[in-house]
Symmetry: C2
């Protein structure tokens, strides 16, 4: 088997670290238990290994093409998407009465992680359909649900999120696509353009259902005038094409197997669109699904980095090159490069980034499940606040550090890593999208520092603080690991306090280094995950028949994180305390 | 004009910062003056603009192909390489009597920088021929020089460096390609394999001249048994093919226009090879050319990052998106993204990395010229020692930070940056080679800390120390910039001292974090260049008719460097002081 992820680590995170099997304390999950969760994950591994991984490089080399206004993708994707539908992946988390399995998001996202690690491009298709269908079923009326969701669940129809426009990328408030009411209530004619629409058109599905943001004619400016519509490529009842034209296909650096389309909406009579929920609430609906989408993107990022880690680890164990620094006898054979300290450093970097990120993302996934199903209001509120706070961090840390992590994988392979003879160069290209889509890192910095920190009187930040302190007080691992973390944690708290004082000086100064604050919170949050893992590993390694090598590896990786990553907080906090603002003072014409 | 580099900055570095026009104090350069240096640079810009830049994307999209054992490259490269020859680029630095122009390396490398920024793939061809010819003319006998160099200088023949083998990449001592003496003195039959040979075969030149490392049969093991040979693809006198077969063509992540070949040497009767210089001195010869090659690679890296910087700067000035944080009126038009602090941060990062690296590389280039032509022994020795010390730094800092810099360029363009509609995604892919070739970053870390620091009783390090202190004592710029730098400089010196103490504990511990020490020295060296630039800009902006915007930009970028990059020294020095060694303690089977 080609190893593209560590099953051992995934199971450790789910069942030892986060104990997601206990989610069955909530009525919604009452039929579930660890055994069937494992079956779900094993099933994901089966598809990943048999169908997705074998297509990884082929889907990169043979890109989709746009021919006569239609996008053609890899011919095997049709069967794969259909299988996702048939096996129930697309609506797995939804209620039984909707044909779902009431699966926790924690398990659904963990299964997704396996698929993404095997072949990110292929994993995009069902992931988007789930998101689009979830918007319809949550905010749409019964008619919309009946018309559109069943064929999306079956994998016959593709779902998309159609937000971005040529003049409205990060600034969604500037959307100009316009919906004109028709004589039928809830039905509109839409005109505009949408760009960068993932899976916006392709020939593996019979229809494409766009969840599209647009302004109803005369709606107020800005985010308060944006509505959400279902805009199908083909009108289901008549099988006639809707007025949605595929204007272009983007050629990307990576994940080439998933087509990204440029769509012209309503170039002729106007595309038929069906209002979801109420007028002018579109962006709010979108944002209520954002946590899931953003945790999802973080998961994509860590999955790719994990696949690169596994590839470079396998190479480092096999590739002989050079000798120990203390070995002067050149007649001795070369040693596998994993024995060189600098190669181990690059492997430890990847291990601490990928396993630490995965821990954080699954922690967030569990918060999604808990905050949804918690019955006590105070618990629900606290968990939701922590999830809101952690979401930009859990999206951005794996995305940004995933670049460095996949870069380390390339570096371990050396010249070979730069060639298409090994998959790491593809991972390096695919990883680069994640700091961009689903909100750029800069946008998430503003979201965290400008919004999430203050939400609910700062409840999210208080919860983070409390959980970290709790975990430090019950910590059972080596002292040096805790001490190093606490140094960073104290610096981080001081930096945050000093930054909050700057809020009085207006948003320009306060938010100038929001991206750096996001980076700092990423290091702290993932460091916290390593505190938890080091503590747990120290305890569990004493159990009978414990896999001590695994736990020693966890503890040494936690130590690596504290020795090599936590010190970066000194640098960041130095910057965050500073009252010199070159990024504000620099004039455009000085560049 | 498409702007792929800043002429203004290049001229500032050469003629204000480094005053390379004064190199004409050395007899070798006596005929040169600023005016003709500028003509050389203008000529480079002409070729870059007219011939190279227009082919940038096309050479990426239409890769070379291997057909019937022959590599075919872009058809226009033939005329371009010939023009390089005709215009005298290939042997420009060599003496008049060899047909050269006695041009300083400083100017030659600066001209190369322009070509590389325009089209890195195309720039590789003449760069390699110069290096190969330089080995022949420096260490070869007259016969070899006469047989091979004239057609290399004219661009009719390609030169290569044939070092790497399947089992000898970073570990050159493990080369096994073997040379068997023939009855003719200096002539050998060679058998072996060479991989990753840049421009190792192509159809734009009539012959390919490999400067190849091999062991003469019976030579001692290790680096002491390696000899250097000229191995032509075609024997010049007979026009018969030599026994060198092109076995494969690598498909790479980037700089696809330059073919990288896998060569089978002597599969039949053995390839004819001609010994350069003395037996078993091959690696020493190679290494004497290494400074030039490594400064050259640093220059490649900064050229690509500079092109990406210029592309993202142009985009940021034009692309409207979002509004000032203080602007709540959504009916106001969107502003160019250069007005957002986080975008300016990403532009300043690129500006400080690229201009700081260029300064350091040209500083090293000037040291190359000075240390070669200095007549006083002590000056020569000091300059050479500083050059030796700075070389791994000047190769690695631009290579590593070039990744972050081009990544920031992609990020500024957002989704557009990830597509092939803009060149930044290509720059991102091309930049990734530089931390690998001409010695990986890890290898340079070992070179710096394990070797260069101690060379000549630490003369290089002493010179660095002295120059930095001198520049601080004559510094004329804003105080805050000096203060921030001095904090970092003090921490760096303490870290170095503490590290040197560890040398007693054996090479494993001493060198465990050599890569981090290299990173620290990179930040200090480039910070030093910013101290020099800030000081000079503060003085020169007071001159009559000074371009004050340019100098303000320099000073603010220096401030950015001190505020955002210098603090990283805290993190690195914390690590270098530590006595915990997870990269040594981690066991292979714990991963």
């Amino acid at each position: 088997m080609s190893s593209f992820y560590s099953k051992k680590d995934l199971f450790f995170q789910l069942f030892e670290h986060l104990e997601v099997e206990n989610l069955n304390r909530y009525p919604y999950f009452k039929d579930h238990h660890q055994e069937n969760f494992e079956m779900v994950l094993d099933a994901a591994e089966q598809i990943a290994q048999k169908s997705l991984y074998p297509l990884l490089t082929e889907m990169d080399r043979k890109e989709p093409i746009l021919e006569n206004g239609k996008i053609k993708i890899h011919p095997r994707m049709k069967a794969i998407i259909r299988q996702f539908g048939k096996d129930g992946w697309i609506n797995a988390t939804f209620p039984y009465e909707e044909g779902g399995q009431q699966l926790p998001w924690s398990i659904h996202l963990a299964a997704g992680y396996i698929l993404q690690a095997a072949n990110y491009s292929a994993s995009v298709f069902p992931f988007l359909t789930t998101g689009a269908a979830n918007l319809i079923r949550t905010f749409g009326n019964d008619e919309l649900i009946k018309r559109f969701t069943p064929s999306m669940y079956s994998g016959e129809w593709q779902g998309t999120m159609a937000l971005t426009e040529p003049d409205a990328g990060s600034s969604l408030s500037d959307i100009t696509t316009t919906a004109y009411p028709t004589s039928t209530k809830g039905e509109y004619r839409i005109k505009g353009q949408k760009i960068y629409i993932s899976c916006g058109d392709h020939d593996a599905c019979e229809n494409v259902i766009h969840l599209m943001l647009a302004r109803i004619e005369g709606a107020p400016a800005g985010t308060k005038g944006i509505s959400l519509f279902v805009v199908p490529k083909i009108i289901p009842e008549t099988s006639l094409p809707n007025d949605v034209l595929t204007e272009g296909l983007y050629h990307k650096m990576g994940y080439k197997g998933a087509p990204i389309a440029h769509l012209m909406i309503g170039s002729n009579e106007g595309a038929l669109g069906y209002l979801v929920g109420e007028e002018n609430h579109g962006l709010r609906y979108m944002f209520q699904m954002m946590n899931e989408a953003r945790i999802g993107v973080g998961m994509n990022a860590v999955a790719i980095a994990q696949a690169a880690f596994q590839a470079s680890l396998a190479y480092a164990k096999e590739r002989p090159q050079g000798r120990k620094l203390t070995e002067k006898d050149l007649s001795k054979p070369q040693v596998p490069i994993i024995q060189h300290a600098d190669v181990k450093r690059m492997l430890l970097l990847q291990k601490c980034v990928t396993e630490g990120s995965l821990a954080l993302l699954l922690y967030c996934s569990k918060l999604m499940d808990e905050s949804t199903h918690e019955s006590e209001e105070i618990n629900k509120k606290q968990k939701h606040a922590l999830l809101e706070l952690l979401t930009p961090i859990a999206k951005s840390y794996p995305s940004e550090m995933g670049l460095q992590s996949t870069s380390a994988a390339v570096q371990i392979l050396g010249g070979a890593g730069y060639t298409q003879d090994f998959p790491v160069e593809q991972y390096y290209r695919e990883a680069r999208i994640h700091p961009i889509h689903e909100g750029t890192t800069g946008i998430h910095g503003l979201d965290l520092l400008g919004r999430k920190i203050f939400l609910n009187d700062g409840l999210g930040w208080k919860m983070l603080h409390q959980h970290i302190e709790d975990d430090l007080s019950t910590y059972q691992g080596p002292e040096d690991i805790r001490n190093q973390f606490e140094k960073g944690w104290n610096l981080a708290q001081n930096a945050a306090a000093s930054l909050l004082q700057k809020a009085q000086e207006g948003p320009e100064i306060f938010l100038a280094d929001a991206t750096l604050f996001l980076e700092l919170c990423g290091i702290i949050s993932v460091g916290w995950m390593w505190i938890r893992q080091a503590s747990l590993s120290s305890m569990n390694m004493k159990k009978e028949n414990a896999d001590t090598a695994f736990y020693y590896g966890k503890i040494e990786t936690a130590r690596y994180f504290m020795e090599y990553e936590i010190p970066k907080i000194s640098a960041l906090s130095q910057r965050l305390h500073s009252t010199s603002y070159p990024t504000l003072d620099m004039r455009d014409y000085w560049f």
